[in-house]
Protein backbone atom coordinates (compact mmCIF):
# COMPACT_ATOMS: atom_id res chain seq x y z
CA UNK A 1 0.00 0.00 0.00
CA UNK A 2 2.74 2.46 0.99
CA UNK A 3 4.49 1.53 -2.23
CA UNK A 4 1.37 2.27 -4.23
CA UNK A 5 0.99 5.64 -2.55
CA UNK A 6 4.64 6.46 -3.22
CA UNK A 7 4.19 5.37 -6.80
CA UNK A 8 1.19 7.70 -7.17
CA UNK A 9 3.14 10.71 -5.99
CA UNK A 10 6.09 9.81 -8.27
CA UNK A 11 3.94 9.59 -11.37
CA UNK A 12 1.00 11.93 -10.68
CA UNK A 13 2.31 14.71 -8.45
CA UNK A 14 1.19 17.33 -10.96
CA UNK A 15 -2.35 15.98 -11.00
CA UNK A 16 -2.43 15.93 -7.22
CA UNK A 17 -1.14 19.51 -7.02
CA UNK A 18 -3.77 20.55 -9.54
CA UNK A 19 -6.57 19.00 -7.50
CA UNK A 20 -5.22 20.49 -4.32
CA UNK A 21 -5.06 23.95 -5.91
CA UNK A 22 -8.62 23.63 -7.25
CA UNK A 23 -9.81 22.51 -3.81
CA UNK A 24 -8.14 25.45 -2.07
CA UNK A 25 -9.35 27.88 -4.74
CA UNK A 26 -13.03 26.98 -4.51
CA UNK A 27 -12.82 26.90 -0.70
CA UNK A 28 -11.16 30.30 -0.50
CA UNK A 29 -13.63 31.81 -2.94
CA UNK A 30 -16.55 30.48 -0.91
CA UNK A 31 -15.06 31.72 2.37
CA UNK A 32 -14.41 35.23 1.06
CA UNK A 33 -17.92 35.53 -0.38
CA UNK A 34 -19.50 34.11 2.78
CA UNK A 35 -17.56 36.55 4.95
CA UNK A 36 -18.50 39.45 2.67
CA UNK A 37 -22.15 38.53 3.22
CA UNK A 38 -22.14 37.39 6.83
CA UNK A 39 -20.06 40.08 8.56
CA UNK A 40 -22.08 43.04 7.22
CA UNK A 41 -25.27 41.05 7.86
CA UNK A 42 -24.13 40.58 11.47
CA UNK A 43 -23.53 44.31 11.85
CA UNK A 44 -27.03 44.96 10.45
CA UNK A 45 -28.55 42.47 12.91
CA UNK A 46 -26.98 44.29 15.85
CA UNK A 47 -27.80 47.79 14.60
CA UNK A 48 -31.38 46.92 13.79
CA UNK A 49 -32.80 44.50 16.32
CA UNK A 50 -35.80 43.89 14.01
CA UNK A 51 -33.59 42.29 11.35
CA UNK A 52 -31.94 39.80 13.67
CA UNK A 53 -34.64 37.12 13.81
CA UNK A 54 -35.43 37.04 10.08
CA UNK A 55 -31.79 37.12 8.94
CA UNK A 56 -30.42 34.51 11.33
CA UNK A 57 -33.57 32.43 10.78
CA UNK A 58 -33.21 32.47 7.01
CA UNK A 59 -29.59 31.35 6.99
CA UNK A 60 -30.22 28.88 9.78
CA UNK A 61 -32.95 27.24 7.68
CA UNK A 62 -30.75 27.09 4.59
CA UNK A 63 -28.07 25.39 6.61
CA UNK A 64 -30.34 22.46 7.38
CA UNK A 65 -30.53 21.50 3.69
CA UNK A 66 -27.70 19.02 3.05
CA UNK A 67 -24.85 20.43 0.95
CA UNK A 68 -25.17 17.61 -1.55
CA UNK A 69 -28.84 18.45 -2.06
CA UNK A 70 -27.97 22.11 -2.60
CA UNK A 71 -25.26 21.11 -5.05
CA UNK A 72 -27.72 19.04 -7.04
CA UNK A 73 -30.47 21.67 -6.82
CA UNK A 74 -28.02 24.21 -8.24
CA UNK A 75 -27.36 22.08 -11.31
CA UNK A 76 -30.35 23.20 -13.39
CA UNK A 77 -29.79 26.85 -12.40
CA UNK A 78 -26.05 27.28 -12.59
CA UNK A 79 -24.99 24.19 -14.49
CA UNK A 80 -21.79 22.41 -13.54
CA UNK A 81 -18.41 23.72 -12.48
CA UNK A 82 -17.03 26.02 -9.83
CA UNK A 83 -19.92 28.50 -9.61
CA UNK A 84 -22.66 26.19 -8.28
CA UNK A 85 -20.17 24.52 -5.95
CA UNK A 86 -19.16 27.91 -4.52
CA UNK A 87 -22.79 28.90 -3.99
CA UNK A 88 -23.53 25.73 -2.05
CA UNK A 89 -20.42 26.22 0.08
CA UNK A 90 -21.28 29.87 0.74
CA UNK A 91 -24.72 28.89 2.03
CA UNK A 92 -23.03 26.41 4.34
CA UNK A 93 -20.52 28.97 5.60
CA UNK A 94 -22.68 32.02 6.22
CA UNK A 95 -24.50 30.87 9.40
CA UNK A 96 -21.45 30.22 11.62
CA UNK A 97 -19.85 33.52 10.57
CA UNK A 98 -23.12 35.42 11.02
CA UNK A 99 -23.90 33.95 14.45
CA UNK A 100 -20.39 34.56 15.73
CA UNK A 101 -20.30 38.11 14.39
CA UNK A 102 -23.55 38.90 16.17
CA UNK A 103 -22.34 37.23 19.37
CA UNK A 104 -19.02 39.09 19.13
CA UNK A 105 -20.61 42.49 18.64
CA UNK A 106 -23.02 41.87 21.49
CA UNK A 107 -20.25 40.70 23.81
CA UNK A 108 -18.62 44.14 23.85
CA UNK A 109 -19.24 45.44 27.38
CA UNK A 110 -21.83 48.19 27.73
CA UNK A 111 -19.35 50.12 29.90
CA UNK A 112 -16.85 50.34 27.02
CA UNK A 113 -19.48 51.69 24.62
CA UNK A 114 -20.84 54.07 27.24
CA UNK A 115 -17.51 55.64 28.20
CA UNK A 116 -16.56 55.85 24.53
CA UNK A 117 -19.71 57.87 23.83
CA UNK A 118 -19.14 59.95 26.96
CA UNK A 119 -15.66 60.91 25.72
CA UNK A 120 -17.25 62.37 22.63
CA UNK A 121 -16.64 59.53 20.19
CA UNK A 122 -19.16 59.54 17.39
CA UNK A 123 -21.19 56.46 16.46
CA UNK A 124 -18.92 55.57 13.52
CA UNK A 125 -15.77 56.01 15.62
CA UNK A 126 -17.16 53.77 18.35
CA UNK A 127 -17.79 51.04 15.79
CA UNK A 128 -14.44 51.33 14.05
CA UNK A 129 -12.26 51.79 17.11
CA UNK A 130 -14.03 49.63 19.67
CA UNK A 131 -16.98 47.53 18.65
CA UNK A 132 -15.61 45.87 15.51
CA UNK A 133 -12.09 45.18 16.80
CA UNK A 134 -13.50 43.79 20.04
CA UNK A 135 -15.84 41.49 18.10
CA UNK A 136 -12.90 40.19 16.06
CA UNK A 137 -12.03 37.19 18.26
CA UNK A 138 -15.50 35.70 17.79
CA UNK A 139 -15.62 36.66 14.11
CA UNK A 140 -12.38 34.72 13.69
CA UNK A 141 -13.91 31.75 15.50
CA UNK A 142 -16.82 31.86 13.06
CA UNK A 143 -14.45 32.09 10.08
CA UNK A 144 -12.48 29.13 11.37
CA UNK A 145 -15.58 26.96 11.80
CA UNK A 146 -16.79 27.98 8.35
CA UNK A 147 -13.41 27.38 6.69
CA UNK A 148 -13.02 23.91 8.13
CA UNK A 149 -16.55 22.97 7.04
CA UNK A 150 -15.96 24.40 3.58
CA UNK A 151 -12.74 22.43 3.10
CA UNK A 152 -14.48 19.21 4.10
CA UNK A 153 -17.60 19.83 2.02
CA UNK A 154 -15.71 20.99 -1.03
CA UNK A 155 -14.92 17.32 -1.50
CA UNK A 156 -18.48 16.90 -2.78
CA UNK A 157 -17.95 19.65 -5.34
CA UNK A 158 -16.15 17.14 -7.55
CA UNK A 159 -19.56 15.54 -8.11
CA UNK A 160 -20.63 18.52 -10.20
CA UNK A 161 -17.39 19.02 -12.00
CA UNK A 162 -15.76 21.64 -9.83
CA UNK A 163 -12.67 19.48 -9.39
CA UNK A 164 -10.68 19.37 -6.17
CA UNK A 165 -9.50 16.48 -4.04
CA UNK A 166 -12.98 14.95 -4.19
CA UNK A 167 -12.12 13.74 -7.69
CA UNK A 168 -9.46 11.50 -6.25
CA UNK A 169 -11.86 10.06 -3.70
CA UNK A 170 -14.65 9.43 -6.20
CA UNK A 171 -12.21 7.88 -8.64
CA UNK A 172 -10.93 5.69 -5.82
CA UNK A 173 -14.47 4.57 -5.04
CA UNK A 174 -15.24 3.89 -8.68
CA UNK A 175 -12.09 1.85 -9.31
CA UNK A 176 -11.90 0.16 -5.90
CA UNK A 177 -8.47 1.78 -5.49
CA UNK A 178 -7.80 2.06 -1.75
CA UNK A 179 -4.56 3.97 -2.36
CA UNK A 180 -6.41 6.77 -4.15
CA UNK A 181 -9.06 6.85 -1.40
CA UNK A 182 -6.35 7.15 1.25
CA UNK A 183 -4.47 9.89 -0.59
CA UNK A 184 -7.67 11.84 -1.27
CA UNK A 185 -9.11 11.44 2.21
CA UNK A 186 -5.75 12.07 3.87
CA UNK A 187 -5.15 15.21 1.83
CA UNK A 188 -8.55 16.66 2.76
CA UNK A 189 -7.94 15.83 6.41
CA UNK A 190 -4.53 17.49 6.33
CA UNK A 191 -5.95 20.54 4.60
CA UNK A 192 -8.70 20.86 7.24
CA UNK A 193 -6.17 20.61 10.04
CA UNK A 194 -3.90 23.14 8.40
CA UNK A 195 -6.83 25.53 7.95
CA UNK A 196 -7.65 25.27 11.63
CA UNK A 197 -4.03 25.89 12.60
CA UNK A 198 -3.82 28.88 10.30
CA UNK A 199 -6.75 30.53 12.06
CA UNK A 200 -5.30 29.75 15.48
CA UNK A 201 -2.10 31.46 14.38
CA UNK A 202 -4.02 34.46 13.04
CA UNK A 203 -5.86 34.68 16.35
CA UNK A 204 -2.56 34.77 18.24
CA UNK A 205 -1.05 37.40 15.97
CA UNK A 206 -4.05 39.73 15.85
CA UNK A 207 -5.25 39.40 19.41
CA UNK A 208 -2.13 39.69 21.48
CA UNK A 209 -3.97 41.75 24.09
CA UNK A 210 -5.92 38.68 25.17
CA UNK A 211 -2.84 36.71 26.14
CA UNK A 212 -0.46 39.56 26.95
Amino acid sequence: MIGQIGEYFRTSLDRWTGMLTAHVAVSLLALVIAAAIAVPAGVLCVRHERLKKPLTGLFGALRVVPSLAILLLMLPVLGTGTAPAAVALVLLAVPPILMNTVAGLESVPESVLETAAAMGMEEGQIWRKARLPLALPLVLTGLKTAAVEIVASATLAAKIGAGGLGELIFTGIGLFRTDLLLIGGGSVAMLSLLTGLLFDLLDKLLLRYKTA
Binding site: P109, E110, S111, V112, L113, E114, T115, A116, A117, A118, M119, G120, M121, E122, Q125, K129, A130, P133, L134, L207, Y209, K210, A212
Partner: protein, 254 residues
Protein backbone atom coordinates in the same frame (compact mmCIF):
# COMPACT_ATOMS: atom_id res chain seq x y z
CA UNK B 1 -19.99 81.00 38.43
CA UNK B 2 -22.30 77.98 38.57
CA UNK B 3 -20.82 74.82 37.11
CA UNK B 4 -24.08 72.88 36.99
CA UNK B 5 -27.64 74.10 37.24
CA UNK B 6 -30.72 71.87 37.17
CA UNK B 7 -34.02 73.69 36.73
CA UNK B 8 -37.13 71.56 37.32
CA UNK B 9 -35.60 68.56 35.58
CA UNK B 10 -37.73 65.42 35.23
CA UNK B 11 -36.94 62.12 33.60
CA UNK B 12 -39.13 59.06 33.26
CA UNK B 13 -37.98 56.01 31.34
CA UNK B 14 -40.26 54.39 28.80
CA UNK B 15 -42.50 51.85 30.46
CA UNK B 16 -41.45 52.84 34.00
CA UNK B 17 -44.17 53.29 36.61
CA UNK B 18 -42.61 56.37 38.19
CA UNK B 19 -40.09 59.04 37.29
CA UNK B 20 -36.41 58.32 37.79
CA UNK B 21 -36.02 62.03 38.61
CA UNK B 22 -38.90 64.32 39.47
CA UNK B 23 -38.73 68.09 39.25
CA UNK B 24 -35.14 68.31 40.45
CA UNK B 25 -33.51 71.72 40.87
CA UNK B 26 -30.10 72.54 42.33
CA UNK B 27 -26.87 74.33 41.55
CA UNK B 28 -23.26 73.31 41.97
CA UNK B 29 -20.64 76.05 42.03
CA UNK B 30 -17.44 75.92 40.09
CA UNK B 31 -14.70 74.14 42.05
CA UNK B 32 -17.05 72.35 44.45
CA UNK B 33 -16.74 68.68 45.36
CA UNK B 34 -20.34 67.49 45.55
CA UNK B 35 -21.26 63.91 46.35
CA UNK B 36 -24.62 62.46 45.34
CA UNK B 37 -25.87 59.95 47.88
CA UNK B 38 -28.85 57.64 47.92
CA UNK B 39 -29.94 54.02 47.80
CA UNK B 40 -29.82 51.93 44.64
CA UNK B 41 -32.45 53.00 42.12
CA UNK B 42 -32.96 56.52 43.54
CA UNK B 43 -31.79 58.19 40.33
CA UNK B 44 -28.11 58.98 40.96
CA UNK B 45 -26.84 57.56 37.68
CA UNK B 46 -29.69 59.17 35.79
CA UNK B 47 -28.74 62.54 37.27
CA UNK B 48 -25.12 62.22 36.09
CA UNK B 49 -26.02 60.93 32.64
CA UNK B 50 -28.38 63.85 32.09
CA UNK B 51 -25.39 66.17 32.45
CA UNK B 52 -23.29 64.59 29.68
CA UNK B 53 -26.46 63.85 27.72
CA UNK B 54 -26.20 60.09 27.72
CA UNK B 55 -29.83 60.64 28.71
CA UNK B 56 -32.09 63.50 27.65
CA UNK B 57 -34.50 65.12 30.13
CA UNK B 58 -38.26 64.99 29.55
CA UNK B 59 -38.62 68.51 30.88
CA UNK B 60 -36.58 71.18 32.59
CA UNK B 61 -33.25 72.78 31.80
CA UNK B 62 -29.67 71.79 32.51
CA UNK B 63 -26.99 74.44 32.37
CA UNK B 64 -23.28 73.70 32.28
CA UNK B 65 -21.15 76.72 33.14
CA UNK B 66 -24.09 78.92 32.25
CA UNK B 67 -24.79 77.28 28.89
CA UNK B 68 -27.87 75.19 28.16
CA UNK B 69 -26.52 71.72 27.31
CA UNK B 70 -29.32 71.26 24.77
CA UNK B 71 -28.08 74.22 22.76
CA UNK B 72 -24.48 73.02 22.35
CA UNK B 73 -23.06 70.37 20.02
CA UNK B 74 -23.22 66.98 21.76
CA UNK B 75 -19.60 66.02 21.08
CA UNK B 76 -18.37 69.40 22.30
CA UNK B 77 -20.35 69.09 25.55
CA UNK B 78 -18.86 65.67 26.23
CA UNK B 79 -15.25 66.62 25.45
CA UNK B 80 -15.51 69.19 28.23
CA UNK B 81 -16.60 66.61 30.81
CA UNK B 82 -14.54 63.85 32.43
CA UNK B 83 -16.61 60.70 33.02
CA UNK B 84 -15.56 57.84 35.29
CA UNK B 85 -17.73 54.81 36.11
CA UNK B 86 -17.50 51.79 38.38
CA UNK B 87 -17.11 49.35 35.46
CA UNK B 88 -14.28 51.63 34.23
CA UNK B 89 -14.83 50.76 30.56
CA UNK B 90 -11.20 50.81 29.40
CA UNK B 91 -10.64 49.55 25.87
CA UNK B 92 -9.25 46.05 26.49
CA UNK B 93 -7.45 45.95 23.13
CA UNK B 94 -5.49 49.15 23.78
CA UNK B 95 -2.51 49.67 26.04
CA UNK B 96 -2.67 51.93 29.07
CA UNK B 97 -1.01 54.74 27.11
CA UNK B 98 -3.41 54.36 24.18
CA UNK B 99 -6.38 54.37 26.53
CA UNK B 100 -5.24 57.54 28.27
CA UNK B 101 -4.64 59.17 24.88
CA UNK B 102 -8.12 58.37 23.53
CA UNK B 103 -9.43 61.93 23.41
CA UNK B 104 -6.10 63.62 22.51
CA UNK B 105 -5.92 61.22 19.56
CA UNK B 106 -9.47 62.10 18.52
CA UNK B 107 -8.40 65.74 18.68
CA UNK B 108 -5.36 64.89 16.53
CA UNK B 109 -2.73 66.19 18.92
CA UNK B 110 0.80 65.58 17.64
CA UNK B 111 2.73 62.55 18.90
CA UNK B 112 5.13 64.34 21.22
CA UNK B 113 2.39 66.28 22.90
CA UNK B 114 0.34 63.10 23.41
CA UNK B 115 3.34 61.25 24.85
CA UNK B 116 4.18 64.06 27.25
CA UNK B 117 0.58 64.41 28.38
CA UNK B 118 0.15 60.64 28.86
CA UNK B 119 3.24 60.44 31.07
CA UNK B 120 2.14 63.46 33.05
CA UNK B 121 -1.33 62.02 33.63
CA UNK B 122 -0.07 58.59 34.65
CA UNK B 123 2.22 60.20 37.22
CA UNK B 124 -0.66 62.32 38.43
CA UNK B 125 -2.72 59.21 39.21
CA UNK B 126 0.23 57.42 40.80
CA UNK B 127 1.32 55.08 38.01
CA UNK B 128 4.95 55.10 36.89
CA UNK B 129 4.72 55.58 33.09
CA UNK B 130 7.73 53.41 32.24
CA UNK B 131 6.27 50.50 34.14
CA UNK B 132 2.63 50.75 33.15
CA UNK B 133 2.12 52.51 29.85
CA UNK B 134 2.66 49.49 27.61
CA UNK B 135 0.49 47.14 29.63
CA UNK B 136 -2.99 46.08 28.64
CA UNK B 137 -5.88 46.68 31.08
CA UNK B 138 -6.08 42.95 31.84
CA UNK B 139 -2.57 43.18 33.29
CA UNK B 140 -3.62 45.67 35.97
CA UNK B 141 -5.38 45.32 39.31
CA UNK B 142 -8.85 46.83 39.72
CA UNK B 143 -7.43 49.84 41.54
CA UNK B 144 -4.79 50.42 38.87
CA UNK B 145 -7.42 50.13 36.15
CA UNK B 146 -9.50 52.80 37.85
CA UNK B 147 -6.41 55.04 38.08
CA UNK B 148 -6.10 54.69 34.31
CA UNK B 149 -9.81 55.45 33.96
CA UNK B 150 -9.27 58.61 35.96
CA UNK B 151 -6.22 59.62 33.89
CA UNK B 152 -8.18 59.04 30.68
CA UNK B 153 -11.03 61.23 31.90
CA UNK B 154 -8.58 64.02 32.82
CA UNK B 155 -6.73 63.89 29.48
CA UNK B 156 -7.93 67.11 27.88
CA UNK B 157 -8.31 68.96 31.16
CA UNK B 158 -12.11 69.07 31.50
CA UNK B 159 -13.50 71.68 33.87
CA UNK B 160 -15.85 69.16 35.47
CA UNK B 161 -15.56 65.49 36.43
CA UNK B 162 -18.57 63.17 36.73
CA UNK B 163 -17.88 60.01 38.70
CA UNK B 164 -20.41 57.20 39.15
CA UNK B 165 -19.42 54.99 42.10
CA UNK B 166 -15.86 54.84 40.74
CA UNK B 167 -14.48 53.00 43.77
CA UNK B 168 -17.53 50.80 44.30
CA UNK B 169 -15.85 47.59 43.18
CA UNK B 170 -12.56 48.09 45.03
CA UNK B 171 -11.41 46.59 48.32
CA UNK B 172 -11.67 48.97 51.26
CA UNK B 173 -7.91 49.61 51.57
CA UNK B 174 -7.48 50.51 47.91
CA UNK B 175 -10.66 52.52 48.09
CA UNK B 176 -9.44 54.51 51.10
CA UNK B 177 -6.19 55.31 49.35
CA UNK B 178 -7.90 56.43 46.17
CA UNK B 179 -10.35 58.56 48.16
CA UNK B 180 -7.46 60.48 49.73
CA UNK B 181 -5.74 60.87 46.36
CA UNK B 182 -8.96 62.11 44.80
CA UNK B 183 -9.32 64.75 47.51
CA UNK B 184 -5.75 65.87 46.84
CA UNK B 185 -6.43 65.93 43.10
CA UNK B 186 -9.47 68.10 43.71
CA UNK B 187 -7.46 70.54 45.83
CA UNK B 188 -4.69 70.75 43.24
CA UNK B 189 -6.83 71.12 40.14
CA UNK B 190 -9.72 73.18 41.46
CA UNK B 191 -12.04 71.32 39.08
CA UNK B 192 -15.70 70.75 39.83
CA UNK B 193 -16.33 67.17 41.00
CA UNK B 194 -19.69 65.41 41.02
CA UNK B 195 -19.28 62.05 42.69
CA UNK B 196 -22.05 59.45 43.02
CA UNK B 197 -22.01 56.87 45.79
CA UNK B 198 -24.45 54.84 47.86
CA UNK B 199 -21.97 54.73 50.73
CA UNK B 200 -22.72 57.36 53.37
CA UNK B 201 -19.20 57.41 54.81
CA UNK B 202 -17.71 57.94 51.39
CA UNK B 203 -20.23 60.68 50.61
CA UNK B 204 -19.56 62.55 53.86
CA UNK B 205 -15.78 62.09 53.69
CA UNK B 206 -15.39 63.38 50.14
CA UNK B 207 -18.20 65.87 49.63
CA UNK B 208 -17.95 69.54 50.52
CA UNK B 209 -21.69 69.28 50.09
CA UNK B 210 -23.81 66.15 49.87
CA UNK B 211 -26.88 65.89 47.66
CA UNK B 212 -29.14 63.21 49.06
CA UNK B 213 -31.62 61.66 46.64
CA UNK B 214 -34.63 59.59 47.62
CA UNK B 215 -36.98 58.16 45.02
CA UNK B 216 -35.96 60.67 42.34
CA UNK B 217 -36.31 63.73 44.57
CA UNK B 218 -33.77 65.75 46.54
CA UNK B 219 -34.17 64.91 50.21
CA UNK B 220 -31.45 67.30 51.40
CA UNK B 221 -28.51 69.15 49.88
CA UNK B 222 -26.07 70.60 52.38
CA UNK B 223 -22.64 70.25 54.00
CA UNK B 224 -21.97 67.02 55.90
CA UNK B 225 -21.93 68.90 59.23
CA UNK B 226 -25.30 70.55 58.58
CA UNK B 227 -26.85 67.26 57.50
CA UNK B 228 -25.58 65.46 60.59
CA UNK B 229 -26.71 68.26 62.89
CA UNK B 230 -30.08 68.87 61.27
CA UNK B 231 -31.06 65.87 59.13
CA UNK B 232 -34.28 66.33 57.18
CA UNK B 233 -37.23 64.41 58.57
CA UNK B 234 -37.76 60.87 57.32
CA UNK B 235 -35.28 59.38 54.90
CA UNK B 236 -32.20 61.44 55.77
CA UNK B 237 -32.76 61.03 59.49
CA UNK B 238 -32.94 57.25 59.19
CA UNK B 239 -29.87 57.29 56.94
CA UNK B 240 -27.83 59.24 59.51
CA UNK B 241 -29.21 57.05 62.29
CA UNK B 242 -28.13 53.85 60.52
CA UNK B 243 -24.62 55.30 60.10
CA UNK B 244 -24.55 56.07 63.86
CA UNK B 245 -25.58 52.48 64.59
CA UNK B 246 -22.67 51.26 62.54
CA UNK B 247 -20.31 53.60 64.39
CA UNK B 248 -21.50 52.24 67.71
CA UNK B 249 -20.86 48.71 66.47
CA UNK B 250 -17.18 49.53 65.92
CA UNK B 251 -16.84 51.52 69.15
CA UNK B 252 -17.88 48.43 71.09
CA UNK B 253 -14.54 46.88 70.09
CA UNK B 254 -12.30 49.85 70.89
Amino acid sequence: MNAVTFQNVSKRFKGAGRSALENVSFTVEEGEFVTVLGPSGCGKTTLLKLINRLYEPDSGQILLFGEDTQGVDLVKVRRGIGYVIQQIGLFPHWTVAENVATVPKLLKWDRDRIRARTDELLRLVGLEPEEYKNRYPSQLSGGQQQRVGLARALAVDPKIMLMDEPFGALDSITRGKLQQELLALHRETGKTFLFVTHDIEEAFLLGGRVLILDGGKIAQFDTPEAIIRRPAEGFVRSLVESAREKGRFWEAYL
